[in-house]
């Protein structure tokens, strides 16, 4: 025997060292968690501190008042953001999931799959202002006016890469054995993908969709070029529309204290809207889960 066993077996002499490294790693993990959480919680509390006092019924029911008039709210921006985000999700999520299904189930190892994956990764890194200019030149210029539709399409396109790549990654984690089980029962491939693979991967895919949603919900730059903003209630998808990030942007840059306070309140409402919709989706999708399932 080349190695005496006493050297590789756990010994008492190393006990202190093991105790110390165990606790050190635990301490580092806890510290890292705190470092990550502190700014998040701080931002949230600062928003509540600055914004909560300006929140009242009028904020949620009134459109902005002209400069100098007190009161007024951001009701039109809240509705506008909801419309634009719904539009973007309705376009971005189905296309994104379909793309992810192609990459994971059909495009593996093909040149087309490799190209789509590459384009999605590049698209993910494109600055949002560039996406705004693209939306402007592709839609706004051709329509000759700003519109909520252009904003929805632009934000929808921004969702696609995140949704596509997470869908692909999540589908690839579905064990091959489960697909084979479905094939073995005479279930056609398309049905297996829809009812077995996507369903098994659903929690991860939903997380990806929520990430994409949360990301575009706060986007301002693309909206400057597409939705443009408005001081009035929305009437049609085909006209300029108010949105929370835009309104916050305009109010925060203004010289008026009243508007600054409204901007803080708007930011608080925007964050709350994102948290509520993500929470709601999580709640709805986690109901009906079975005992001992995944």
């Amino acid at each position: 025997m080349s190695q005496p066993l006493s050297q590789i077996r756990p010994s008492k002499t190393n006990a202190w060292h093991r105790w110390a490294s165990d606790h050190a790693i635990t301490a580092i993990s806890v510290l890292g968690t705190i470092v990550v959480l502190v700014p998040l919680v701080a931002v949230l509390f600062y928003l509540i501190y600055k914004g909560a006092s300006s929140l009242n019924l009028a904020f949620f029911t009134h459109v902005p008042k002209p400069v100098g008039e007190t009161g007024g709210g951001m009701a039109n921006s809240i509705v506008g953001s909801a419309i634009i985000l719904t539009l973007a999700s309705a376009m971005g999520i189905p296309v994104g999931i379909a793309g992810g299904v192609y990459l994971a189930e059909y495009g593996a190892g093909t040149w087309l799959g490799a190209i789509i994956r590459f384009v999605a990764d590049v698209l993910n890194g494109v600055p949002s202002i560039v996406m705004g200019i693209a939306g402007y030149s592709l839609i706004v210029v051709h329509q000759h006016h700003f519109s909520a539709l252009a904003a929805g399409v632009t934000l929808g396109i921004m969702m696609i890469p995140t949704v596509t790549r997470t869908t692909e990654e999540m589908l690839l984690t579905v064990p091959h054995a489960i697909r084979e089980a479905a094939y073995g029962l005479g279930v056609p491939r398309w049905r297996t993908i829809l009812s077995i693979s996507l369903r098994t991967a659903a929690p991860g895919i939903i997380t990806g969709c929520m990430l994409a949603f949360a990301r575009i919900a706060g986007e301002t730059a693309p909206l400057l070029f597409t939705a443009f903003g408005s001081q009035f209630w929305p009437h049609s998808l085909n006209e300029p529309m108010a949105a929370l990030p835009l309104q916050i942007f305009v109010y925060a840059l203004s010289p008026y204290d009243e508007w600054h306070r409204l901007a803080w309140a708007g930011a608080l409402v925007l964050i709350s809207m994102i948290m509520i919709s993500v929470g709601l989706v999580r709640y709805v999708t986690s109901r009906g889960q079975l005992k001992g399932g995944h």
Partner: protein
């Protein structure tokens, strides 16, 4: 009722690897046929050729003919139709993790468009009884996930799932190799009963298991079927020296 299987000149490849060479054999209806041989000898590939599962691997290729009952599965029907008629149970239990016990058993029918609730209830109960699992799960049918059961129960759930679509043939690829001895004996009892109604093909590494459940046994070695005869003959007076060496434990 089960149907017989007739395999003629079957060859199979994975990429450039010639993994099955000129297999010829006839498996009688309503009986169990065991396939034994060392790891990598092609027996799993062979059963996967019997329900066209082999070709789900993009690099796979098959030549020759397999007749199940009256139909030549490589000529007369699509893989999807074939797999409805030829059930398969895999080495590792693979219940659908997102589905309840009930839905797992009903999945073959539901995913193929069956919606008749009353009929589904009946099929689920019958299949779970056939798989000797009904008494253990009947109170949690729709409450618990299939993945919450123990390994042995999961494998019987997979057998129930395969039986629910009413196949004529049941292919079992080492169905008990991941299970403890008690679960294994339950699966073997099950095979013993099921072979009255279905034609069963079972791949196994366990020669006692082959001896216990199967009427006929085939010995595979390096992609070839060395010997195929009644189980009794294979284990008492094998015709081929290699078969004898294998079953007496001289290699493999």
């Amino acid at each position: 009722m089960g149907v017989g299987i007739e395999v003629r000149d079957l060859n199979a490849w994975y990429g450039s690897t010639h993994s099955l060479r000129d297999i010829n054999l006839t498996m009688p209806a309503n009986s169990a046929t065991a396939l034994i041989g060392p790891s990598g000898c092609g027996k799993s590939t062979f059963v996967r050729c019997l329900n066209r599962m082999h070709e789900t691997n993009p690099s796979a290729r098959v030549e020759g003919s397999v007749k199940v009952g009256d139909i030549d599965i490589y000529k007369d029907a699509s893989p999807v139709e074939i797999r409805r008629r030829i059930g398969m149970v895999f080495q590792r239990p693979n219940p659908f993790p997102t589905m309840s016990i009930y839905d797992n058993v009903a999945s073959g029918l539901k995913l193929n468009g069956f919606r008749n609730r009353k009929l589904l209830d009946e099929v689920v109960e019958r299949s779970l009884k056939q798989a000797a699992l009904w008494n253990e799960v009947k109170d949690d049918l729709k409450k618990k996930s299939g993945a919450s059961l123990s390994g042995g129960q999961q494998q019987r759930l997979c057998i129930a799932r395969a039986l629910a679509v009413d196949p004529e043939v049941l292919l079992m690829d080492e169905p008990a190799s991941a299970l403890d001895p008690l679960s294994t004996s339950k699966i073997e009892d099950l095979i013993f009963q099921l072979k009255n109604e279905y034609t069963i093909v079972i791949v196994t590494h366990n020669m006692q298991q082959a001896a216990r459940v199967a009427e006929n046994t085939g010995f595979f070695l390096m992609g070839q079927l060395v010997e195929f005869a009644s189980t009794n003959t294979i284990f008492t007076k094998p015709a081929d020296k290699r078969t004898e060496d294998y079953i007496t434990g001289r290699f493999g």
